[in-house]
Subunit: 206 residues, 8 copies
């Protein structure tokens, strides 16, 4: 079994038929299945044909089957800057949970109102690994990393407009941060951030 | 006299002869002259031929003549993130001073070590206009603006490497800030930031 | 109260439910609320559930609640180049008004027909702060700034096609202007330009 | 003879030997030869081996042989914004002259100081074709075109820094101009602009 | 009257009401009106309210009113590479015709099948000014210009996919052509190309 | 002490004087100091003035002072694709070592010759955290990650030419990898990759 | 007959009427016709009017008429990385088949799970020419080429999100591969890849 | 032996010591060695230490050892547009020759003067595989491909200035060509083009 991972399906660009077939096949032999980027439209078409215990999460567009009785490991914090960044943050959180981790959520803490972030310093400092999702406030990853000693996985989101260039601005800001202990995943890749955080958090179990 | 401005010469791309001739001509009829982007090499060639009271500032590569007896107006703060950003910050400060303003300097306050910035909160909050110069820590403009009520003029610098893309990353980060009260000038344009801050600070004298 | 600002909500990427809930909550404790980038579709869904005195402005897609009895300060001029730039210009003007400023509007003054702009020279020269919104005519900010002594806040708009690259061309043109006293906000960020202009115009009241 | 053109050699990327050989060969059979982008270093190496009547123009880096007794046609005006744009403007002017045109020069007329341009309105309106070279003031092409009825050939120059992106900003600004009667050549392509202007100015002689 | 031009309206980004009002107002005082980039949807809404002699051209999305009795001047050729480039070519042709020129059309002559172009050499060589519109075959402008002595106005189109980047590839190819006598307008700017060609073709009438 | 980190100085853009002064000051109060991006030229100027136990590593351009008697933790592997990528890989390795880790090196294992990589599978699978540095072979990070369960920190390098665009190509390739458990740092940021790997490897000691 | 090729029509940007007319005309004089990028919507409109033996392939959006009795030449392998890349792979395969080649398909072999690819080594090594289509796993082309001696035609696909930039990331990765024997076609250009492979595979028949 | 290939060393980014050591080691066990991108400076330093039969080609910066007695296969033509493109073309030709092919050279055939190319039609049509190298005349690949039935390997070169963007313009033009039978390698990658051509030309010997 690769990495003790759940099976993960990349939903985008697959037809409704393909999704149905893959999920049902995987569901037979696996306790945990995750489909990312599954649009609400496709889900609506196929929901009747999916296993009964498949749960669809609307904003992160994720389908989750979780029949495993995992002992979840605490240690992961997922933070995000604006309301519009929550779907990506939620994709990260769901992924990390499905991989056997307990996830704290700290949403809507922007850099423009720093005090809200500083108020949560104890929570931030308790985390072993932190995921930061932000589109217009790419700065958040740098600020958070400066406040803690934990490794930070930064996810730029495509939230924003104009010179945000669909997440490029946040991506570049995160890559250029002077704070050490930050690494970055693809724009909107909440899944990748959550999986990386999970692998780090459970590293000593290998 | 346009704007009560000093005469400003854009030094880059001009030959040594052109600079000498322009500065001497302007110097005859003006109390204040500023040459920006004058390389140390060109300055070395022409220093003997310039007016005696012309002062060359090496790191910001600026030549300044200031014979005016201005009453300087307090209110401008120039902040920058890293040591390598200081030439641009200094260009802004020199410009604002030459335009009749008193300038506080707050250098080397990065986002990665937030406490150094927070320690200076009183100084930040006292400023009427703030210039923030940063290359790798484009986030600084956003953080500063979130802490104060004063308008912030952000100058991205070309300091950095790799995905900083010669200042593009900082430029984009500054443009996308969610904090209101930020506007941005060209990469490395300390002059433009200083002039804008000066105009704002002395607005009610018009 | 941060900056004597109205409460501002970034409408894009929020669900109808989120908008309704935030506006109603803010409306209870605030005299002034602004929602930017609220699409006509979302507004149509929620209009019945919003406070009665909430006014929706269609082209700038802005929802405004203003129960404050502000003495408005004159001094701001908002100019734009083409008819298609007016929504952004209007977002700037509404923002500045809500922040206690009187706003003059000078719309449809392009660079291609310079005389229309020159005819308004007295109006331009009377302004204390000028906002210039332009997409295809990024040149306008530079030309206006050259004609006046007031600081200019330039807003590139995404109006145009082809090599306008959704506002990038105007953004770059504005950043490279040789005229001093220009600073730039994000593409289509009328809100940011209006807020910056308001802060500058009321600076001496702090 | 193609187009009644002089022979033109693209000097960049050719070795000293290649230049010498090509120029001498062309010089035997042609009254007019133009080498563009010939660096001062290469010229210094080969000057003794070139025909006696070859003239090297330093700032535009152009080598010109002109033994033709052309009746020059008036009608072309070459304008540029800043001192640093003159080499490109001069390349355009030399090219047009070598192709049998009389060229007026109007240098150092920026948009930031519009009055200098407006003072020359009669000169601008007399031209049949206008070349505008500008780097930081890409706006100039648009403003000039708005003032005249003549076709304008715009040449962006690589003058500038930061977000000028080596002429890209000026190129985009010129392409997006709303004024009709503008077409654009490559960044720093003074030769191309001069040749196009010459072809247009002498069109009815074909 | 500026340039003896028809009145031209940029249709994109204007509401149906704005278009109707502008066209009717202009139609009262002008013999010729052109609206570019008017979508079929907007046209369908307002057709009843427009002047009876307004003609809508579907593929180039242009509305034309032409009551002038112009003596048309021969000399303009409009060429394009693929079927999908014809709307832009047609916008150029309509514009030039409305400005008093006779326009030859040479459509569907690609570089991949050079013989079709070479077969039309006499037609190409007869033209005084040539417009070349191409998206995937940006090379066409260069090839045509190499075959003729007339000035070429090149219009990149957004036709293509992948690395065509919505016309950027064709734009760059056209700007870099080694052939002299080419100048370029904005991507999809058939109007600009047609107007430039018209101005050149009628230059000696000024 | 923040993170039990050594003190780290960003050498680029600092003058020789600044480096000397900072290193000597830090050296007094710290057992470990690291200067990154210190050019050989600057080092040659100042070597006499630095502490005797400062060691300069030429290819990674790093100055290291290490007087700590750390018990190094095994678990980190640094791999790179080509010979030209080794300076960046070495910067990562030095950083991780200075932070108390034992580092295995696996250099010159490209994707074009997969067998060399597959031969080292046992070594790869033993690592707890892997750093992969590659410029032309951005693919390597993806391939390595697919072969192991350990988290992979990918560092794009600026090695390459043409469409490598100074590391951009490798950066994008790494961000888009489908393999989960990869996160990316800035182009050429060996330091950042090494620090991140060190933090992950020693996570359970916190 | 150019190249013994089937007639090929680029369906994108053509109206339903244009497609119908072209296909029927070509169908009269040709045994083989291929229409690429024909949307399902347009096909639905015109299917009744097309020749009876025209077959529409939905995912690759290709219309094929094949009445030739070709002896197909073995030797081409088409591989792709993800399910979402199959339409492009299929376009390549259909094209090569229509040009008289036998095509093996090897779909869904990603780099993240290398063993699936290595399991097919005999199949890979038997091919004379290989087409590799991939969007998120641009690395695949490099890996395949490293395993075989056959020339590889790489097709980047626009599959992906965020920093895939619609295929740009895969395109760059493929261009920078160190493995020799790779050449690249446009993003999503399955047709071009298939045609190139076909020409190479049948080269000795010329 | 991988592919019957000579051993190839990528010279760029390797130190003089590394080159010397690698070449001498490879030279012992191989009849053919190629070092690409070896600068004249490095070569000058190490020439005495290299095998006596190593030949350095200055403009393509290639070091070649060829002791094999290959029967060369005719069929490859290398064409290029401008004099400045010849180093890249020559790198391709040397590579193909070293791999056992006879190479025809057709240099300095631009699109601007089409007749020179058309004069060589018989030579073009005789080739089995064609390499086309061009920087400013990216169009050449498309034109050549349209004239012949052979597969064309296109190499964009970084020759040009301004909007050539160091070869990007030529790269995009080549990728977008409508002619089928073109595939593209990296900017300035003469080696890759030559190797691909050689593999295709000798395909039936496998
Ligand atoms: N949102 C996502 N972004 C990037 N990679 C993903 C995502 N979702 C799934 N994957 C990866 O894609 C693989 C499944 O791809 P597929 O077989 O095409 O469904 C998984 O093993 C993951 O590694
Ligand atoms: N560093 C600078 N960046 C941008 N604009 C500048 C700079 N220095 C001077 N300028 C502007 O350039 C004008 C002078 O240009 P010039 O006549 O070419 O010397 C001044 O009036 C300033 O507005
Ligand atoms: N159109 C806009 N562009 C940029 N920032 C905005 C805009 N509208 C609101 N904001 C900022 O976003 C904040 C509200 O964000 P949120 O809490 O996500 O609604 C406000 O305080 C503003 O600073
Ligand atoms: N100019 C070049 N461009 C791209 N790849 C090259 C070049 N020269 C050599 N290579 C490849 O690089 C490999 C050698 O890389 P290295 O071991 O780093 O010298 C060779 O096998 C070639 O596949
Ligand atoms: Mg930290
Ligand atoms: Mg603030
Ligand atoms: Mg002004
Ligand atoms: Mg005009
Ligand atoms: Mg011509
Ligand atoms: Mg793995
Ligand atoms: Mg191979
Ligand atoms: Mg062909």
């Amino acid at each position: 079994l690769r990495r003790g991972f759940p099976e993960v399906v990349f939903g985008q660009g697959k037809t409704a038929e393909q999704i149905t077939q893959i999920v049902n096949r995987l569901s037979e032999r696996n306790e945990r299945v995750l489909v990312t980027r599954l649009s609400a439209e496709v889900y609506a078409q196929i929901r009747e044909e999916l296993p009964d215990d498949a749960v669809y999460h609307q904003r992160p567009r994720a389908l989750v089957i979780n029949r495993a009785n995992l002992v979840c490991r605490p240690g992961i914090l997922v933070a995000c800057a604006g309301t519009a960044d929550t779907p990506v943050a939620e994709e990260a959180a769901l992924t990390a949970e499905l991989m056997g981790n307990q996830v704290e959520r700290l949403y809507d803490v922007g850099v423009a109102g720093l005090h809200r972030l500083l108020d949560k310093l104890p929570m931030l400092r308790q985390a072993r690994v932190i995921v930061v999702a932000a589109g217009m406030e790419g700065a958040l990853a740098s600020v958070v990393s400066g406040l803690v000693d934990a490794p930070v996985i930064a996810v730029p989101t495509s939230v924003g407009y104009g010179a945000s260039f669909h997440g490029l601005s946040a991506l570049l800001a995160m890559l250029n941060s002077c704070s050490s202990g930050i690494a970055v995943v693809n724009i909107d890749n909440g899944f990748g951030a959550g999986a990386m955080a999970a692998m780090i958090n459970r590293l000593d179990e290998r």
